[in-house]
Symmetry: C2
Subunit: 226 residues, 2 copies
DNA sequence: TAGATTGTTAATCGATTAACAATC
DNA sequence: TAGATTGTTAATCGATTAACAATC
C-alpha cells in the first residue's frame, strides 16, 4: 500500500488535522473544549437540559460552526432541530479531555485571595479538589478555611507526595511568588497556576499559567474604543 | 488605476492581513499584544532593560517568530543581536492598543475576592483605576478597603456617570451575579469582567469576560497527562 | 408538516514554523 | 570579529465562515 492511499483512506477527522481517540488534541481544540465544558457545567447547574451551538457560541465567543465542527470530530453528539444534551455532552468532553477523574491541588497563600479561592466552587466544579492550604505565616497556620486547616509551607513536600498533587495554585504577593514557585517545583508539582503578576522562572518540565484579568480588559477595551 | 495594482502596491503589513495605523487590529493580534504588554510591564518593574523575542515567548507561550512578526508590522522596534528595549516597547504597544490613558473601573463586591482585587496592583499596573467599590451589604458600606470606602450599590449609576466608567468588575457570589450584572448594564457599563461562574445574560452591546482558572488548568492537565 | 439546528463541505483567512540574510 | 537576535520570506497548517442538505 502506498502512502498516498493510506492518506486518502484516513478518516475525515484525521485528514482535517483533528485527532483520533488515541492521538493528542491540538492546542486550540483542547482549549476550546475546556471552555465548552465550563459553560456546560454551569448550564447543567442551572437546570438546562439542552443547549444549541449558538448558545454555546454566545457564552464562549467561539463561532457556532467551529463548535459544531469541534464536536463532530468525536461523534454525533447533537440532535438536529434540538441541540446538544447538556449532561451527555459534559461527560463526552470530560472523556475526550481525559479529565473525568478527580484531581488534587495545593493552594499556597491564606490571604484574602486564598480564602476566596478556597471557599468558591471555581475549581471544585471541574473536579479539582483543594486538598490543602499552605502559608508561611505562623499566625495563619492552624486557622480553618472552608473545610481545611492552614498548614505551614514546610509540610508541602510531604503532602504533594502523599496526595499525588500535580497542580499548585499560587495566591501570594508578588515578592513571595518566585520563592514559593521554587518550593512547588521542588515538591514535584508540574503545573502552577499563578495569581500573582510575577514572571516565574521554572524548569522546562513545569508549566506556568498566569491569571491575567487586565489582559482581557485591555483587549476588550480596544474593541470598545475602536 | 486597476484594483489589481492597488492591491499589489499596498504595504506588506496590509497585504498580510495586518493593519495600518488607522485600521482595527485583528482579534488575535490585539489579544497577543495585550499579553506582551503584561509581561513587558512586569519585566520593566523588575528592572529589565531589554528583552528578546525568545524571552517573551517563554513567558507568553507565543512562538518567537510570531512575536517578531506581530511587532514588525508596526515598526522596527528591535535591535538585532540585542532585543527590544522594554520601556520603549511598552509605550509602543500602548499606543497601538490605544490604551495609553487611564481607565476607571467599578468593583462590585467587598468580600474576600473584592478585597484581594482592590489591594493588588493587577489592574493598576495596566492603567485601570478602581474608583469605587460597591456592595449590597449595609454592614460593609462605609468600611475602608485600600484607599477606598465601600459604597452602597444604589450609588452605582451616579458614580458610573460622574467618573465615566466603562468597565465593571464583578466579584460576587454566583447567585448575586446576574442581578448585579443587570445593575451594571443599567448604569451604562459596557464591559463586565465576571469573577463568578454564572453565565451572564447581557444585551449585545455589552461584553462579558469570565475569569476561568479551571479552564486553563483542565487544558494544562490534558497536555500533562498525554 | 414547519421550524430549528446539526453535521459537513468548500473557500478563505490568519497562525505557525523553519530558515536565513541583515545587522547590531 | 564573532555571536546573537531581529526582520522577513515562503511554505504549511489550523481556524473561520457561509452555505446548505439532512433530519429531528
Amino acid at each position: 500500500m502506498s502512502y498516498g492511499e493510506a492518506t486518502t483512506s484516513a478518516p475525515q477527522a484525521e485528514r482535517d488535522g483533528r485527532v483520533s481517540s488515541n492521538e493528542r488534541l491540538s492546542l486550540g481544540v483542547a482549549a476550546r473544549l475546556s471552555r465548552y465544558l465550563q459553560v456546560l457545567t454551569q448550564a447543567k447547574k442551572m437546570g438546562k437540559e439542552t443547549i444549541s451551538s449558538q448558545e454555546l457560541s454566545d457564552y464562549t465567543h467561539v463561532n457556532s460552526t467551529q463548535i459544531r465542527r469541534d464536536l463532530s470530530g468525536f461523534g454525533k453528539f447533537g440532535k438536529r432541530g434540538v441541540g446538544y444534551n447538556v449532561e451527555a455532552l459534559v461527560s463526552q468532553i470530560r472523556k475526550i479531555l481525559r479529565t473525568a477523574g478527580q484531581h488534587n491541588i495545593a493552594l499556597i497563600g491564606a490571604g484574602h485571595l486564598g480564602k476566596a479561592i478556597a471557599s468558591s466552587e471555581i475549581f471544585a466544579d471541574h473536579g479539582f479538589r483543594v486538598v490543602s492550604i499552605f502559608d508561611v505565616d505562623d499566625a495563619k497556620v492552624g486557622t480553618p478555611i472552608g473545610n481545611q486547616v492552614v498548614r505551614h509551607i514546610s509540610d508541602l513536600r510531604q503532602v504533594v507526595e502523599d496526595e499525588d498533587i500535580v497542580v499548585g495554585v499560587l495566591a501570594v504577593p508578588n515578592q513571595a511568588a518566585q520563592g514559593l514557585a521554587d518550593e512547588l517545583v521542588e515538591a514535584g508539582v508540574k503545573i502552577i497556576f499563578n495569581y500573582s503578576e510575577s514572571l516565574l522562572d521554572v524548569p522546562p518540565e513545569v508549566t506556568v499559567h498566569t491569571s491575567s484579568p487586565a489582559v482581557d480588559l485591555l483587549y476588550a477595551l480596544y474593541f470598545y474604543l475602536t
